[in-house]
């Protein structure tokens, strides 16, 4: 049984290593997609119409927030009626848009 377990552990180790390599390469490809893939960065956008076409957002007020990297978003737990969201940026202004109705 010990020999069989050792053999299986060897296979699992190879499998885990293969997954790690794929995760690393996929993360790198994703980063490249937005940073230097020809004009893909320019084409990486959604329209308000796209957002409005999502069924679960049909009867909702939708606010879109575009923030610089490392912007902090804080939500304190609330026991009263009001809920809060606090945004704090250190690398530039935060853009907030109200998604228009249809």
């Amino acid at each position: 049984k010990s020999r069989a377990l050792r053999k299986e552990l060897g296979e699992l180790e190879r499998a885990e290593k293969a997954l790690e390599d794929l995760i690393t390469s996929s993360s790198t490809q994703l980063k490249e997609l937005t940073e230097h893939g020809d004009n893909q960065g320019q084409l990486g956008y959604v329209t308000y119409q796209d957002i409005r076409s999502i069924a679960s957002l049909q009867d909702q007020t939708v606010i879109a927030v575009k923030a610089p990297s490392e912007t902090k978003l804080e939500v304190p737990e609330s026991s009263e009626g009001s809920q809060q969201i606090y945004l704090k940026s250190k690398n530039g202004p935060i853009e907030v848009y109200l998604c228009p109705e249809e």
């Binding site: 937005t34 990297s69 902090k72 978003l73 939500v75 304190p76 737990e77 609330s78 009626g81």
Partner: protein, 48 residues
């Protein structure tokens, strides 16, 4: 009081940080509604 602090603005982050926030907001909303229901429930009348 607990609070959840996350970083935004990065591309392709993980979305489970927002699932935690939404779960917290949802549960505090439900507990608030439950306490409102209980306080508004009619008190049982005393038997003469």
């Amino acid at each position: 009081r607990t609070r959840i602090l996350v970083s935004i603005g990065e591309s392709f982050g993980t979305s489970d940080k927002f699932q935690k926030i939404n779960a917290m907001v949802n549960s505090s909303d439900r507990s608030l509604k439950r306490s409102l229901d209980m306080s508004s429930a009619p008190k049982p009348l005393k038997r003469l």
